[in-house]
């Protein structure tokens, strides 16, 4: 028998070193928020900033409560979150599919990669009015903007991940008679998943940017719309409340993807934090 203890010590050591930061993390985040709010409030008082330029934390908080009470917040929040989810999902599927095609076929690679790079170089936000022109004011043009922002990171992550797959796996697949399609799903995609998840974290935040900008331009609902509405009517507390909610949504979707990633990739060597 081979000496076993190595495995056990590695296991418990990993669990211990991971648990500590997870317990502490919310406190660190809370501390951050408190410091920012304190600096904000302190500056507000000390510099005597006019209320129509910068609302105080208290006002913004009060406005948030009001918006939550009369239900406005939930309607807008729900709309935006749904669009982020939908747009990110479509973007992820499109990006992953294109990524597989690009990495599998040199022809596809040569054909579409230059186009994709040019597309990525274009500022999508500047294209947003064109999307409205082509697809109308509504959900379609909003989703197109979100998808156009979120698919590219996923595509790059998928291609990078698939190209880095250990070449020994091909020999393994050959010797066990595994067909290419089965190999793609059972070996290549799991092997590429760390890189795909890293891309997904970027893409989901891009999807949120897309959702807010799209609502800004072509919607009568959503947090982006709330932003425009408040801005055009000089409702600074509402404007800032909307910004706070948008930040919270961004953090939440990022954390959600990270949570799924940690669960799905628990087989990886623990990465030193």
């Amino acid at each position: 028998m081979v000496a076993a203890p190595r495995a056990e010590t590695a296991g418990t050591g990993r669990r211990r070193s991971r648990r500590l930061p997870i317990v502490l993390k919310p406190f660190v985040a809370l501390l951050y928020v408190l410091v920012i709010v304190a600096v904000w409030a302190g500056y507000q008082e000390a510099a005597d900033v006019p209320r129509f330029l910068l609302a105080s934390p208290g006002e913004v908080g009060g406005q948030l409560v009001d918006l939550a009470r009369d239900g406005t917040l939930w309607t807008h929040l729900g709309y935006t979150v749904r669009n982020i989810g939908l747009g990110f999902a479509i973007g992820a599927v499109v990006g992953a599919l294109l990524g597989v095609l690009v990495s599998r076929s040199q022809v596809v690679d040569a054909m579409i990669y230059p186009f994709l790079v040019v597309f990525q170089a274009m500022p999508k936000i500047a294209l947003a009015p064109m999307f409205v022109l082509w697809f109308g004011l509504g959900l379609t043009s909003q989703l197109i903007l979100i998808v156009s922002l979120s698919f590219f990171p996923i595509l790059v992550g998928t291609v990078t991940g698939l190209r880095q797959v250990n070449s020994g796996y091909q020999d393994l697949a050959t010797t066990i008679g595994m067909k290419p399609v089965a190999k793609l799903f059972r070996i290549d995609i799991p092997a590429a998943s760390p890189s795909i998840f890293a891309a997904a974290r970027v893409a989901v935040v891009d999807a949120m940017t897309g959702a807010v900008v799209a609502e800004w331009i072509s919607s009568s609902q959503g947090l982006g719309y709330l932003l425009v509405e408040a801005n055009s009517s000089y409702q600074v507390p509402t404007l800032m409340a909307a910004i706070v909610v948008i930040i919270a949504v961004g953090v939440a979707v990022y954390q959600l993807v990270t949570f799924v990633e940690t669960r799905a990739l628990s087989w990886r060597d623990p990465v030193p934090a």
Partner: protein, 268 residues
Amino acid sequence: MSAPTGSSVDNQTGTAAAVPAGTLLRISGINKEYRSERGKVVHALHDVSLDVRQGEILAIIGASGCGKSTLLRIMAGLDTVTSGRTIWSRQPTPGRDIGYVFQESVLLPWRTVFRNAAIAPETLKIPRQQYEPRVRELLSLVGLTDFADALPRELSGGMRQRTSIVRALAHDPALLLMDEPFGALDQITREKLHDDLLRIWTATGKTIVFVTHSVDEAAYLADRVVVLSPHPGRVRAVHDVPLPRPRNAETKLDPRFAEFQAMLRGEL
């Protein structure tokens, strides 16, 4: 070196009539050439012929660059020949009749030891209740029963290589091919795995062909040893190992063990 290069790939596989009884695989006049990255033609194997007999352990030994890994890859269908023939007593089906152990264990890091070991029968779509007892038995044969649910990263190098040996045997192939399977391991672990392998061989009666650069490994494990010489890879000699079975610690004290190794060293 003057053999024609390139275009005519002559990768026939012959039929049963062509090999004598007791022979699993006959390799006949194989040449292998490939182009290096700098465009130079490398003659990896030159007119290599040898027989693999049913149920034997055959070692292929040689200095690095003698094409021994290439020869094994050709047997496994991982590489093609430039000319020559590989004639099987019965044509193997990929994933069914051959088990292959790589130099590096090539385990899938997201699969447990059991699921790594079971990937071949799983790929053949054999129901789990059929292969599970067999995989568990093999794992216990190499002392990995308690690690069936461990992930590869939790294993030592020796345990990974044991897992990959079990994986190569899980679908009960007639032929086990191993490419320097113990090369990356320390001497103590190597010797344990040698005995594991002999135990498996005794229990299952597989035909085993393995590549090594270690003279004592070849002498201890094999029935016959093929010595390849490099540049280009040719068969220099084929020896019967003059040692009785079962092989164990006493084998290593046998004067013939030392003599045989010295003779092999002289040929390398």
